[in-house]
């Protein structure tokens, strides 16, 4: 149980640390930044499993809600949960969970399984929750909002590869688990 707490805290911190990667804003994304943090979420799902990964994402969100400036660009506080990207943020938890479940279930070898799981969790799931909320909060039409999702696709693919590569590297070495 203690080891799990350590891992959960650590992965929450990894998601937070990925917030140090500068966010990219494109006008056609209507205020949704491209950030590395959603990759941290899928990484958590792949490396520490569905349940712990989801808990790590949740701990991260609670920390943000408490006012710690851990979101990309140094934001934090309750306001991000009333803002346009609130749906993506809430979606971090199921995204990690589903990534973990898929990765655990697929028998394709580490790289492919992680790639697929991270794409589904980190792109499909996040957008399924994030896009409707975006449309709702900003009074966009669903059509425009779906345009945003399309704009996020290239980043989503790149980040899925990132997760897959890291999973592959770590699978190749015994990272000190006794």
């Amino acid at each position: 149980m203690f080891r799990e707490i350590g891992l959960i805290i650590l992965f929450a911190a990894i998601i937070a640390a990925l917030g140090l990667v500068p966010r990219i804003d494109f006008p056609f994304l209507g205020g949704v930044p491209i950030t590395a943090q959603s990759m941290g979420v899928t990484l958590a799902g792949v490396l520490i499993g569905a349940r712990n990964g989801a808990l790590a994402a949740a701990v991260f969100l609670v920390a943000v809600a408490f006012g710690m400036p851990l979101l990309a660009g140094g934001r934090g506080g309750l306001d991000v949960f009333t803002g346009p990207t609130a749906g993506f943020l809430i979606g971090f938890v199921p995204a990690a969970y589903i990534t973990g479940v898929l990765f655990g279930a697929l028998r394709w070898g580490v790289f492919l399984a992680a790639l697929f799981a991270a794409f589904i969790g980190g792109y499909v799931v996040l957008n399924m929750i994030g896009i409707p909320v975006l449309a709702w909060v900003t009074d966009k039409s669903m059509r425009e909002a779906v345009g945003v999702a399309a704009g996020l696709l290239p980043g989503g693919i790149i980040k899925a590869f990132g997760t897959a590569i890291i999973a592959y590297l770590l699978a190749g070495m015994n990272f000190g688990r006794n």
């Binding site: 070495m173 015994n174 000190g176 006794n178």
Partner: protein
């Protein structure tokens, strides 16, 4: 370079580490074969060694190693970190020791063989496949020390090299160091070791200032006396 000209020299050095001024306009010539650095916790011993290794750059002034400013390029030094965890890069003992040799241009196979020899020489025969993080703290420190000595750099910067070593290994290394031809700058709280291992000079740092830079016979008793007096004052 002869033993009289300094192998490490600080000229008007100021060093800040996150808002804390560690050294303020310090000048210091370090000459001799074996030089010790003593001083209380936080007095700047590790910071001095890091400056000499080129791991920290002074905010003002110049640090020279073998005559060359560290700002112009990293000096060829071997650095033993005070905390072994800060030094270790590789999963196995063999890779850890071979690394410095490979960096010096030895080919992988030869480095592996040499690493095995060196390990055996220090009583660690057969350790090459062991996982570094599964060693005891003292064993880790020993592996780090062997790895640093393996590369045979001109200047050895050793930060508390013996703090976790057992008695036999300490004795071993006392002899080893006495026979070494390179320059050694060594920070240590082990005053006995510094007084009876043929050190040429001892530098006493006190809150970032150089209190003394003289042979051990004069510095160590002076430090001891001050410390005992201060200890008495504190308990009083």
């Amino acid at each position: 370079m002869d033993d009289q000209s300094p192998f490490v020299a600080l000229e008007g050095v100021t060093l800040r580490r996150s808002n804390r001024t560690v050294f303020q306009d310090v000048s210091l010539q370090i000459a001799g074969r074996r030089v010790g650095v003593i001083g209380n916790n936080g007095s700047g011993k590790s910071s001095l060694l890091r400056l000499a290794a080129g791991l920290l750059m002074p905010d003002a002034g110049v640090v020279r190693v073998m005559g060359r400013p560290t700002a112009e390029g990293r000096p060829e030094t071997g650095f033993l970190f005070q905390n072994p965890d800060h030094q270790i890069l590789f999963p196995t003992v063999g890779e850890e020791v071979a690394f410095g040799l490979i960096e010096k241009g030895m080919d992988h196979a030869a480095a592996g063989v040499r690493a095995r020899e060196l390990l055996a020489l220090h009583g660690c025969a057969g350790w090459e496949k062991r996982a570094v993080h599964e060693l005891s703290e003292g064993q880790k420190q020993l592996v780090c020390l062997i790895a640093v000595l393996a590369a045979e750099p001109d200047v050895l910067l050793l930060d508390e090299p013996f703090s976790s070593l057992d008695l036999p290994t300490r004795y071993d290394f006392k002899d080893r160091l006495a026979g070494i031809n390179q320059h050694i700058l060594m920070a240590s709280h082990d005053l006995d070791l510094l007084s009876d291992s043929g050190f040429d000079r001892v530098i006493w740092l006190d809150g970032g200032r150089v209190r003394a830079n003289a042979p051990p016979e004069s510095v160590i008793p002076a430090y001891r006396a001050t410390v005992t007096a201060a200890g008495k004052a504190r308990t009083a």
